[in-house]
Protein backbone atom coordinates (compact mmCIF):
# COMPACT_ATOMS: atom_id res chain seq x y z
CA UNK A 1 0.00 0.00 0.00
CA UNK A 2 1.24 3.49 -0.86
CA UNK A 3 0.14 6.09 1.65
CA UNK A 4 -1.12 9.48 0.54
CA UNK A 5 -2.39 12.49 2.44
CA UNK A 6 -5.94 12.57 1.08
CA UNK A 7 -6.98 16.12 0.21
CA UNK A 8 -10.74 15.89 -0.06
CA UNK A 9 -11.43 19.67 -0.13
CA UNK A 10 -14.70 21.43 0.78
CA UNK A 11 -17.02 20.65 -2.13
CA UNK A 12 -16.93 16.86 -1.92
CA UNK A 13 -17.59 16.23 1.79
CA UNK A 14 -20.21 18.94 2.21
CA UNK A 15 -22.00 19.05 -1.12
CA UNK A 16 -21.46 15.80 -3.04
CA UNK A 17 -20.35 13.24 -0.40
CA UNK A 18 -21.23 10.29 -2.66
CA UNK A 19 -18.12 11.22 -4.66
CA UNK A 20 -16.14 10.64 -1.45
CA UNK A 21 -17.68 7.16 -1.21
CA UNK A 22 -16.52 6.31 -4.73
CA UNK A 23 -12.94 7.34 -3.89
CA UNK A 24 -12.75 5.68 -0.49
CA UNK A 25 -14.13 2.38 -1.81
CA UNK A 26 -12.09 2.06 -4.99
CA UNK A 27 -8.67 3.54 -4.18
CA UNK A 28 -7.59 0.71 -1.83
CA UNK A 29 -8.12 -1.73 -4.71
CA UNK A 30 -5.25 0.06 -6.42
CA UNK A 31 -2.94 -0.19 -3.42
CA UNK A 32 -3.56 3.30 -2.11
CA UNK A 33 -4.05 4.06 1.56
CA UNK A 34 -5.81 7.39 1.98
CA UNK A 35 -4.65 9.18 5.13
CA UNK A 36 -7.00 11.89 6.44
CA UNK A 37 -5.43 15.03 7.88
CA UNK A 38 -7.25 18.07 9.36
CA UNK A 39 -6.84 20.21 6.23
CA UNK A 40 -8.64 23.54 5.86
CA UNK A 41 -9.96 24.94 2.56
CA UNK A 42 -7.18 24.55 -0.07
CA UNK A 43 -8.04 27.61 -0.49
CA UNK A 44 -10.13 28.20 -3.61
CA UNK A 45 -7.97 29.18 -6.62
CA UNK A 46 -10.74 31.52 -7.78
CA UNK A 47 -12.10 33.53 -4.89
CA UNK A 48 -9.24 33.49 -2.41
CA UNK A 49 -6.48 34.03 -4.94
CA UNK A 50 -8.48 36.90 -6.40
CA UNK A 51 -8.94 38.46 -2.97
CA UNK A 52 -5.31 38.36 -1.91
CA UNK A 53 -2.59 36.39 -3.64
CA UNK A 54 -0.17 36.33 -0.68
CA UNK A 55 -2.89 35.13 1.70
CA UNK A 56 -3.82 32.44 -0.84
CA UNK A 57 -0.21 31.22 -0.99
CA UNK A 58 0.09 31.31 2.80
CA UNK A 59 -3.12 29.39 3.57
CA UNK A 60 -2.26 26.77 0.94
CA UNK A 61 1.28 26.45 2.30
CA UNK A 62 -0.16 25.76 5.75
CA UNK A 63 -2.05 22.76 4.31
CA UNK A 64 1.09 21.55 2.54
CA UNK A 65 2.98 21.81 5.87
CA UNK A 66 0.52 19.34 7.45
CA UNK A 67 1.41 16.75 4.81
CA UNK A 68 5.13 17.58 5.04
CA UNK A 69 5.02 16.93 8.78
CA UNK A 70 3.76 13.39 8.03
CA UNK A 71 6.21 12.99 5.16
CA UNK A 72 3.34 12.18 2.78
CA UNK A 73 2.64 13.29 -0.77
CA UNK A 74 -0.79 14.83 -1.30
CA UNK A 75 -3.46 13.18 -3.44
CA UNK A 76 -6.27 15.59 -4.34
CA UNK A 77 -9.81 14.61 -5.24
CA UNK A 78 -10.76 18.03 -6.64
CA UNK A 79 -9.18 19.87 -9.55
CA UNK A 80 -9.48 23.25 -7.79
CA UNK A 81 -7.54 21.93 -4.80
CA UNK A 82 -5.07 20.34 -7.21
CA UNK A 83 -4.44 23.66 -8.94
CA UNK A 84 -4.03 25.60 -5.72
CA UNK A 85 -1.78 23.11 -3.96
CA UNK A 86 0.36 22.20 -6.95
CA UNK A 87 0.70 25.82 -8.05
CA UNK A 88 1.60 27.11 -4.61
CA UNK A 89 4.00 24.21 -4.03
CA UNK A 90 5.69 24.96 -7.37
CA UNK A 91 5.78 28.74 -6.83
CA UNK A 92 7.26 28.44 -3.35
CA UNK A 93 9.90 25.92 -4.41
CA UNK A 94 10.99 28.08 -7.36
CA UNK A 95 10.69 31.56 -5.81
CA UNK A 96 12.82 31.97 -2.65
CA UNK A 97 11.57 35.53 -2.01
CA UNK A 98 7.94 34.44 -2.01
CA UNK A 99 8.83 31.43 0.13
CA UNK A 100 10.52 33.72 2.70
CA UNK A 101 7.50 36.01 2.75
CA UNK A 102 5.11 33.09 3.26
CA UNK A 103 7.32 31.46 5.89
CA UNK A 104 7.45 34.77 7.74
CA UNK A 105 3.65 34.54 8.08
CA UNK A 106 3.69 30.80 8.85
CA UNK A 107 6.03 31.46 11.79
CA UNK A 108 3.02 32.94 13.57
CA UNK A 109 1.51 29.45 13.70
CA UNK A 110 4.83 27.60 14.21
CA UNK A 111 4.97 26.20 10.74
CA UNK A 112 7.54 26.29 7.96
CA UNK A 113 7.11 25.39 4.31
CA UNK A 114 10.00 23.18 3.23
CA UNK A 115 9.07 22.02 -0.28
CA UNK A 116 9.63 18.34 0.51
CA UNK A 117 6.48 16.73 -0.93
CA UNK A 118 4.61 16.38 -4.23
CA UNK A 119 0.97 17.09 -5.09
CA UNK A 120 -0.98 14.80 -7.41
CA UNK A 121 -4.55 14.50 -8.73
CA UNK A 122 -6.39 11.20 -8.42
CA UNK A 123 -7.12 10.95 -12.17
CA UNK A 124 -3.50 11.62 -13.15
CA UNK A 125 -2.50 9.05 -10.52
CA UNK A 126 -4.90 6.48 -11.99
CA UNK A 127 -3.54 7.05 -15.49
CA UNK A 128 0.18 7.27 -14.77
CA UNK A 129 0.81 5.35 -11.55
CA UNK A 130 -1.86 2.65 -11.83
CA UNK A 131 -2.06 2.47 -15.62
CA UNK A 132 -4.80 1.68 -18.10
CA UNK A 133 -4.04 -2.05 -18.24
CA UNK A 134 -4.36 -2.53 -14.50
CA UNK A 135 -7.63 -0.58 -14.44
CA UNK A 136 -9.04 -2.61 -17.32
CA UNK A 137 -8.05 -5.81 -15.50
CA UNK A 138 -10.32 -4.87 -12.57
CA UNK A 139 -13.40 -4.28 -14.71
CA UNK A 140 -16.07 -6.91 -14.10
CA UNK A 141 -19.05 -5.30 -15.79
CA UNK A 142 -17.67 -3.56 -18.91
CA UNK A 143 -19.68 -0.53 -20.02
CA UNK A 144 -20.03 -1.88 -23.56
CA UNK A 145 -22.07 0.25 -25.94
CA UNK A 146 -22.14 3.20 -23.55
CA UNK A 147 -21.20 6.61 -24.95
CA UNK A 148 -19.50 9.05 -22.61
CA UNK A 149 -18.76 12.75 -23.06
CA UNK A 150 -15.51 13.35 -21.14
CA UNK A 151 -15.09 16.69 -19.39
CA UNK A 152 -11.51 17.47 -18.37
CA UNK A 153 -12.32 20.88 -16.93
CA UNK A 154 -9.81 23.70 -16.58
CA UNK A 155 -7.76 23.32 -13.43
CA UNK A 156 -6.87 19.69 -14.10
CA UNK A 157 -4.94 20.77 -17.23
CA UNK A 158 -4.10 24.46 -16.94
CA UNK A 159 -1.80 26.23 -16.66
CA UNK A 160 -0.01 23.30 -18.34
CA UNK A 161 3.51 24.29 -17.30
CA UNK A 162 2.43 23.90 -13.66
CA UNK A 163 -0.13 21.10 -13.82
CA UNK A 164 1.90 18.94 -16.25
CA UNK A 165 -0.92 16.47 -16.73
CA UNK A 166 -1.85 16.40 -20.40
CA UNK A 167 -1.92 18.49 -23.57
CA UNK A 168 -4.42 21.26 -22.69
CA UNK A 169 -5.61 21.58 -26.29
CA UNK A 170 -5.81 17.86 -27.13
CA UNK A 171 -6.11 15.98 -23.84
CA UNK A 172 -6.37 12.19 -24.14
CA UNK A 173 -5.81 10.69 -20.70
CA UNK A 174 -9.37 10.96 -19.44
CA UNK A 175 -10.66 9.44 -22.69
CA UNK A 176 -8.33 6.48 -22.18
CA UNK A 177 -9.46 6.14 -18.56
CA UNK A 178 -13.07 6.00 -19.75
CA UNK A 179 -12.34 3.53 -22.52
CA UNK A 180 -10.53 1.27 -20.01
CA UNK A 181 -14.00 0.63 -18.57
CA UNK A 182 -15.31 -0.59 -21.91
CA UNK A 183 -17.25 2.59 -22.76
CA UNK A 184 -16.74 4.79 -25.78
CA UNK A 185 -15.50 8.34 -25.23
CA UNK A 186 -17.27 10.36 -27.92
CA UNK A 187 -16.05 13.58 -29.53
CA UNK A 188 -18.47 16.46 -28.99
CA UNK A 189 -18.88 20.19 -29.45
CA UNK A 190 -17.14 22.37 -26.84
CA UNK A 191 -15.37 19.41 -25.27
CA UNK A 192 -12.64 21.66 -23.88
CA UNK A 193 -14.95 24.38 -22.57
CA UNK A 194 -14.96 25.51 -18.96
CA UNK A 195 -17.87 24.61 -16.62
CA UNK A 196 -18.46 28.29 -15.81
CA UNK A 197 -18.31 27.88 -12.03
CA UNK A 198 -15.88 30.79 -11.58
CA UNK A 199 -18.33 33.20 -13.19
CA UNK A 200 -21.37 32.08 -11.21
CA UNK A 201 -20.11 34.02 -8.19
CA UNK A 202 -20.36 37.22 -10.24
CA UNK A 203 -23.18 36.44 -12.64
CA UNK A 204 -25.26 33.28 -12.34
CA UNK A 205 -26.77 33.53 -15.80
CA UNK A 206 -23.51 33.83 -17.71
CA UNK A 207 -22.04 30.96 -15.67
CA UNK A 208 -25.00 28.71 -16.42
CA UNK A 209 -24.98 29.63 -20.10
CA UNK A 210 -21.38 28.43 -20.37
CA UNK A 211 -22.32 25.08 -18.80
CA UNK A 212 -25.52 24.71 -20.80
CA UNK A 213 -23.73 24.97 -24.12
CA UNK A 214 -21.58 21.99 -23.25
CA UNK A 215 -24.49 19.81 -22.15
CA UNK A 216 -26.24 20.58 -25.44
CA UNK A 217 -23.06 19.56 -27.31
CA UNK A 218 -22.86 16.28 -25.40
CA UNK A 219 -26.54 15.52 -26.04
CA UNK A 220 -26.11 16.24 -29.74
CA UNK A 221 -23.30 13.66 -29.80
CA UNK A 222 -25.80 11.25 -28.22
CA UNK A 223 -23.71 10.75 -25.12
CA UNK A 224 -25.38 8.65 -22.41
CA UNK A 225 -23.61 10.62 -19.68
CA UNK A 226 -21.03 13.29 -19.00
CA UNK A 227 -18.02 12.35 -16.84
CA UNK A 228 -15.93 14.74 -14.75
CA UNK A 229 -12.83 14.48 -12.58
CA UNK A 230 -13.66 17.58 -10.52
CA UNK A 231 -16.50 17.96 -7.99
CA UNK A 232 -17.07 21.62 -8.89
CA UNK A 233 -17.54 20.72 -12.56
CA UNK A 234 -19.82 17.90 -11.36
CA UNK A 235 -22.01 20.38 -9.47
CA UNK A 236 -22.00 22.80 -12.44
CA UNK A 237 -23.49 20.13 -14.66
CA UNK A 238 -25.57 18.01 -12.28
CA UNK A 239 -27.23 20.57 -10.01
CA UNK A 240 -26.56 23.09 -12.78
CA UNK A 241 -28.94 21.42 -15.24
CA UNK A 242 -31.79 21.99 -12.76
CA UNK A 243 -30.94 25.69 -12.56
CA UNK A 244 -30.41 25.99 -16.32
CA UNK A 245 -33.89 24.61 -16.98
CA UNK A 246 -35.33 27.83 -15.55
CA UNK A 247 -33.80 30.00 -18.27
CA UNK A 248 -32.72 27.73 -21.11
CA UNK A 249 -33.87 24.75 -23.11
CA UNK A 250 -34.29 21.78 -20.77
CA UNK A 251 -31.62 19.06 -20.79
CA UNK A 252 -31.47 15.77 -18.94
CA UNK A 253 -27.98 14.31 -19.19
CA UNK A 254 -26.78 12.09 -16.32
CA UNK A 255 -23.47 13.24 -14.84
CA UNK A 256 -20.91 11.03 -13.11
CA UNK A 257 -17.64 11.50 -11.28
CA UNK A 258 -15.07 9.23 -12.91
CA UNK A 259 -14.60 7.07 -9.82
CA UNK A 260 -18.35 6.41 -9.64
CA UNK A 261 -18.21 5.00 -13.14
CA UNK A 262 -15.09 3.00 -12.33
CA UNK A 263 -16.80 1.58 -9.22
CA UNK A 264 -19.86 0.70 -11.27
CA UNK A 265 -17.77 -1.23 -13.76
CA UNK A 266 -15.95 -2.97 -10.90
CA UNK A 267 -19.26 -4.17 -9.52
CA UNK A 268 -19.56 -1.85 -6.52
CA UNK A 269 -23.05 -0.96 -5.34
CA UNK A 270 -23.14 2.83 -5.14
CA UNK A 271 -26.94 3.03 -5.39
CA UNK A 272 -27.32 5.12 -2.20
CA UNK A 273 -25.08 7.72 -3.84
CA UNK A 274 -26.69 7.61 -7.27
CA UNK A 275 -29.98 8.56 -5.62
CA UNK A 276 -28.38 11.81 -4.46
CA UNK A 277 -27.65 13.04 -8.00
CA UNK A 278 -29.83 15.93 -9.17
CA UNK A 279 -30.24 14.42 -12.64
CA UNK A 280 -31.66 10.93 -12.35
CA UNK A 281 -29.30 8.19 -13.48
CA UNK A 282 -31.66 5.19 -13.50
CA UNK A 283 -32.06 5.14 -17.28
CA UNK A 284 -28.28 5.10 -17.60
CA UNK A 285 -27.98 2.23 -15.11
CA UNK A 286 -30.62 0.28 -17.02
CA UNK A 287 -28.57 0.64 -20.19
CA UNK A 288 -25.47 -0.66 -18.44
CA UNK A 289 -27.02 -3.83 -17.04
Amino acid sequence: MTKYAFFIGCTIPYRVPFIETSLRKTMPDFNVELVDLPFACCPDPGGVQAFDSVAWHTLAARNICLAEEQNLDILTACSGCFETLKMVNTHLISDPDLKDKVNEHLKEVDKEFKGSIKVDHFAEFMYTDVGIDKIAARVEKPLTGIKIASHNGCHFLKPPEIMQVDNPEVPVKLDHLIEALGAESVPYLNKLACCGAGTRTTDMDTGLKIAHEKIVGAEMAQADALVTVCPTCFVSYDTGQRLMAKSFERTNLPVFFYMELLGLSMGYDFSAGYKMHSIKVQSFLDKVS
Binding site: S53, R62, C154, L192, C194, T201, A272
Partner: protein, 167 residues
Protein backbone atom coordinates in the same frame (compact mmCIF):
# COMPACT_ATOMS: atom_id res chain seq x y z
CA UNK B 1 -8.52 58.07 -11.41
CA UNK B 2 -9.10 55.90 -8.43
CA UNK B 3 -8.06 57.10 -5.02
CA UNK B 4 -4.32 57.67 -4.69
CA UNK B 5 -2.43 54.68 -3.43
CA UNK B 6 1.28 54.34 -4.09
CA UNK B 7 1.05 50.64 -3.34
CA UNK B 8 -1.46 50.08 -6.13
CA UNK B 9 0.44 52.24 -8.59
CA UNK B 10 3.47 50.03 -7.88
CA UNK B 11 1.48 46.88 -8.56
CA UNK B 12 0.03 48.43 -11.68
CA UNK B 13 3.54 49.02 -12.99
CA UNK B 14 4.31 45.34 -12.44
CA UNK B 15 1.19 44.35 -14.34
CA UNK B 16 2.00 46.81 -17.12
CA UNK B 17 5.44 45.22 -17.50
CA UNK B 18 3.74 41.88 -17.97
CA UNK B 19 1.36 43.05 -20.70
CA UNK B 20 3.58 45.39 -22.71
CA UNK B 21 4.30 42.66 -25.28
CA UNK B 22 0.61 42.41 -26.18
CA UNK B 23 0.00 43.22 -29.87
CA UNK B 24 -3.78 43.10 -29.58
CA UNK B 25 -4.34 40.02 -31.74
CA UNK B 26 -7.46 39.01 -29.80
CA UNK B 27 -6.58 35.33 -29.43
CA UNK B 28 -7.34 35.66 -25.72
CA UNK B 29 -10.88 36.88 -26.39
CA UNK B 30 -11.39 34.33 -29.17
CA UNK B 31 -11.04 31.40 -26.78
CA UNK B 32 -12.56 32.99 -23.69
CA UNK B 33 -15.66 31.09 -22.53
CA UNK B 34 -17.06 34.18 -20.82
CA UNK B 35 -16.59 36.54 -23.79
CA UNK B 36 -18.45 34.01 -25.95
CA UNK B 37 -21.57 34.38 -23.78
CA UNK B 38 -21.18 37.92 -22.51
CA UNK B 39 -19.31 40.22 -24.87
CA UNK B 40 -18.96 43.09 -22.39
CA UNK B 41 -16.22 41.04 -20.77
CA UNK B 42 -13.32 41.08 -23.20
CA UNK B 43 -9.78 40.18 -22.09
CA UNK B 44 -8.24 41.87 -25.13
CA UNK B 45 -9.98 45.11 -24.13
CA UNK B 46 -8.63 44.76 -20.61
CA UNK B 47 -5.09 44.39 -22.03
CA UNK B 48 -5.69 47.42 -24.26
CA UNK B 49 -6.67 49.53 -21.28
CA UNK B 50 -3.61 48.42 -19.37
CA UNK B 51 -1.35 49.18 -22.35
CA UNK B 52 -2.83 52.66 -22.64
CA UNK B 53 -2.26 53.21 -18.94
CA UNK B 54 -5.99 53.60 -18.46
CA UNK B 55 -5.80 52.86 -14.82
CA UNK B 56 -9.26 54.20 -14.34
CA UNK B 57 -12.27 53.62 -12.18
CA UNK B 58 -13.95 51.96 -15.12
CA UNK B 59 -11.51 49.07 -15.01
CA UNK B 60 -12.80 48.18 -11.58
CA UNK B 61 -16.17 49.78 -11.19
CA UNK B 62 -18.44 47.87 -13.51
CA UNK B 63 -17.18 44.56 -12.13
CA UNK B 64 -15.96 43.47 -15.57
CA UNK B 65 -12.82 41.82 -14.30
CA UNK B 66 -14.83 39.70 -11.88
CA UNK B 67 -16.50 37.92 -14.80
CA UNK B 68 -13.22 36.11 -15.56
CA UNK B 69 -13.71 32.49 -14.56
CA UNK B 70 -9.98 31.83 -14.18
CA UNK B 71 -9.77 29.05 -16.76
CA UNK B 72 -6.30 29.94 -18.17
CA UNK B 73 -7.43 29.32 -21.76
CA UNK B 74 -6.17 32.78 -22.75
CA UNK B 75 -2.82 32.28 -20.99
CA UNK B 76 -2.33 28.92 -22.70
CA UNK B 77 -2.95 30.41 -26.17
CA UNK B 78 -1.46 33.91 -26.11
CA UNK B 79 1.19 34.02 -28.87
CA UNK B 80 3.17 36.52 -26.80
CA UNK B 81 3.26 34.25 -23.79
CA UNK B 82 1.35 36.66 -21.58
CA UNK B 83 -0.30 35.04 -18.57
CA UNK B 84 -3.52 37.02 -18.97
CA UNK B 85 -5.39 35.06 -16.33
CA UNK B 86 -2.65 35.92 -13.83
CA UNK B 87 -2.77 39.58 -14.85
CA UNK B 88 -6.55 39.66 -14.29
CA UNK B 89 -6.01 38.06 -10.91
CA UNK B 90 -3.63 40.90 -10.09
CA UNK B 91 -6.33 43.37 -11.11
CA UNK B 92 -8.80 41.58 -8.84
CA UNK B 93 -6.36 41.88 -5.93
CA UNK B 94 -6.12 45.61 -6.67
CA UNK B 95 -9.90 45.91 -6.98
CA UNK B 96 -10.29 44.46 -3.48
CA UNK B 97 -8.00 47.21 -2.22
CA UNK B 98 -10.17 49.88 -3.78
CA UNK B 99 -13.14 48.05 -2.27
CA UNK B 100 -14.71 46.64 -5.38
CA UNK B 101 -15.46 43.04 -4.44
CA UNK B 102 -18.52 41.01 -5.42
CA UNK B 103 -20.80 39.91 -2.60
CA UNK B 104 -20.13 36.24 -3.39
CA UNK B 105 -16.38 36.62 -2.78
CA UNK B 106 -16.96 38.41 0.54
CA UNK B 107 -19.31 35.60 1.61
CA UNK B 108 -16.73 32.98 0.69
CA UNK B 109 -13.89 34.72 2.55
CA UNK B 110 -16.13 35.14 5.59
CA UNK B 111 -17.01 31.43 5.54
CA UNK B 112 -13.34 30.46 5.52
CA UNK B 113 -12.62 32.87 8.35
CA UNK B 114 -15.46 31.49 10.45
CA UNK B 115 -15.21 27.76 9.66
CA UNK B 116 -11.95 27.09 7.80
CA UNK B 117 -13.87 25.83 4.77
CA UNK B 118 -15.96 27.42 2.01
CA UNK B 119 -19.03 25.22 2.07
CA UNK B 120 -20.80 25.39 5.42
CA UNK B 121 -21.59 22.20 7.31
CA UNK B 122 -25.36 21.92 6.84
CA UNK B 123 -27.60 19.43 8.62
CA UNK B 124 -28.61 17.90 5.28
CA UNK B 125 -24.94 17.32 4.39
CA UNK B 126 -24.38 15.55 7.70
CA UNK B 127 -27.47 13.39 7.13
CA UNK B 128 -26.20 12.40 3.71
CA UNK B 129 -22.81 11.50 5.17
CA UNK B 130 -24.44 9.27 7.78
CA UNK B 131 -26.54 7.56 5.14
CA UNK B 132 -23.40 6.90 3.08
CA UNK B 133 -21.56 5.63 6.20
CA UNK B 134 -18.75 8.12 5.64
CA UNK B 135 -16.23 8.90 8.40
CA UNK B 136 -16.44 12.08 10.45
CA UNK B 137 -14.74 15.10 8.94
CA UNK B 138 -11.56 16.12 10.75
CA UNK B 139 -12.03 19.77 11.73
CA UNK B 140 -9.21 22.13 10.70
CA UNK B 141 -7.30 24.13 13.31
CA UNK B 142 -9.42 27.26 13.08
CA UNK B 143 -7.08 29.32 15.29
CA UNK B 144 -4.26 28.85 12.79
CA UNK B 145 -6.43 29.72 9.80
CA UNK B 146 -7.71 32.87 11.52
CA UNK B 147 -4.24 33.91 12.64
CA UNK B 148 -2.94 33.62 9.07
CA UNK B 149 -5.89 35.56 7.68
CA UNK B 150 -5.13 38.25 10.22
CA UNK B 151 -1.39 38.56 9.57
CA UNK B 152 -1.87 38.59 5.80
CA UNK B 153 -4.32 41.48 6.12
CA UNK B 154 -7.41 39.58 4.95
CA UNK B 155 -9.35 40.30 8.14
CA UNK B 156 -8.73 44.05 7.89
CA UNK B 157 -9.81 44.10 4.24
CA UNK B 158 -12.96 42.13 5.01
CA UNK B 159 -13.84 44.48 7.85
CA UNK B 160 -13.53 47.57 5.71
CA UNK B 161 -15.58 45.96 2.91
CA UNK B 162 -18.31 45.10 5.39
CA UNK B 163 -18.26 48.59 6.86
CA UNK B 164 -18.72 49.98 3.36
CA UNK B 165 -21.65 47.65 2.71
CA UNK B 166 -23.36 48.83 5.88
CA UNK B 167 -23.06 52.51 4.99
Amino acid sequence: MIEESTEIIGEFKELYDKVKLCYQCGTCAGGCPVFKQYSRFNPRRIMEKLLAGEFTKELFDDQQIWFCTGCYTCSTRCPQGIDICHVINGLKNMAVKVKNTPEGIITEMTAILETGVTAGISQSALKRRTKLELPEILPPDLNEVQKLMEVTGVVAKLNSLKELAEQ
